[in-house]
Amino acid sequence: MREAVRYEAMEKALLRLMPAALSETAQAGMEAQLDELSGSVEVLSGDAGVIRHGFPRWAKWLGGIAAAVTIGVFAFPFGNQESAPLVGIAEDDGMVVITELDRVENVLDEGLFVDAGGSAVRKMSVRVVGESRILDEETGIEVTLTEPRREMVLLPVSTF
């Protein structure tokens, strides 16, 4: 009984000691990691204190490309189109383009037309899918961007 009382006194004394808190850096690092794991925030490697809210970094310019493609398709629906400048966008943000590939999915003959100069041309509608593999050097994440687009090709016709 006496022993129990003595232990009780020691237990009370121990409870007067508080465990030291995690350092701010560690706490922030772990919280950022939790955010990253839950998919709501991305941690910039090498700087535990800095976090960026929102989508992963590549999603930012992925959205930009999508917007550019959309604008391109709607602004120039029947003209010859160049592919979106993926390389420029990617390199600006520390991304490296590994491969770029244009794949023709479909060709449709839309018939004969007369161009502005009075020459006969055959209008071909070509559906192309641009595929770019991009590497984020910081995180090692590799992203494949597919960019479907429609191009109009005007072929001169010399024989009927």
């Binding site: 465990p19 990691q33 939790l34």
Partner: protein, 175 residues
């Protein structure tokens, strides 16, 4: 998923200090201990995402076990590293404490803190889990893979030793 992240952050804010205290028994420095806590939290996250666990924050005994396992791994790699770097002398950071007295002028608490830090690993981990982790002897026995009776014995022995240490420190002070 945001609310899940928030739940884990609240859990970390509540339990981080006691996990850190336990990890201090395994890490040479505060940074090592914090790394162990972080490693355990990461492992626990993935573990809790598995089926039927719902992703919620884990129970403390499981985290203590994970820290202990990570600590053992660290200890093994540290031993290997020390063999390679025997010439290096590590200095103690005397400001780097494991426990903070509630009142700064509480001399007994300061002595008790030192006494806790000086306990053997086996006794200290039981004291930490019981006192600051709030674990039962049954839970401690699972973490340490010992019987509940052994856990209780170690706890009593640790209290006894702390009492003796404190008494000795007081006597030395008044001598």
């Amino acid at each position: 998923m945001g609310s899940l992240s928030d739940a884990w952050k609240r859990w970390l804010a509540e339990n981080g200090p006691r996990l850190l205290l336990f990890a201090r028994g395994w890490g040479k420095t505060r940074e090592d201990a914090e790394d162990l806590v972080q490693e355990a939290v990461l492992k626990m996250w993935h573990y809790q995402q598995e089926e039927n666990r719902g992703g919620k924050p884990p129970d403390l005994p499981l985290v203590f076990s994970t820290i202990r396992f990570a600590g053992l791994m660290l200890h093994r790699s540290e031993k290997r590293r020390r063999k390679r770097e025997e010439a290096i002398v590590y200095l103690n950071d005397f400001q780097d404490v494991w426990l903070d007295p509630m009142m700064e002028d509480d001399e007994d608490s300061v002595r008790l803190r030192d006494a806790v830090q000086n306990l053997s690993d086996k006794l200290r981990e039981v004291i930490v889990m019981k006192t600051w982790g709030g674990l039962t002897f049954a839970q401690i026995s699972e973490v340490l893979a010992i019987s509940p009776n052994t856990a209780a014995s170690r706890y009593r022995y640790a209290l006894e030793q702390l009492t003796q240490d404190l008494k000795q420190m007081r006597e030395e002070r008044h001598a």
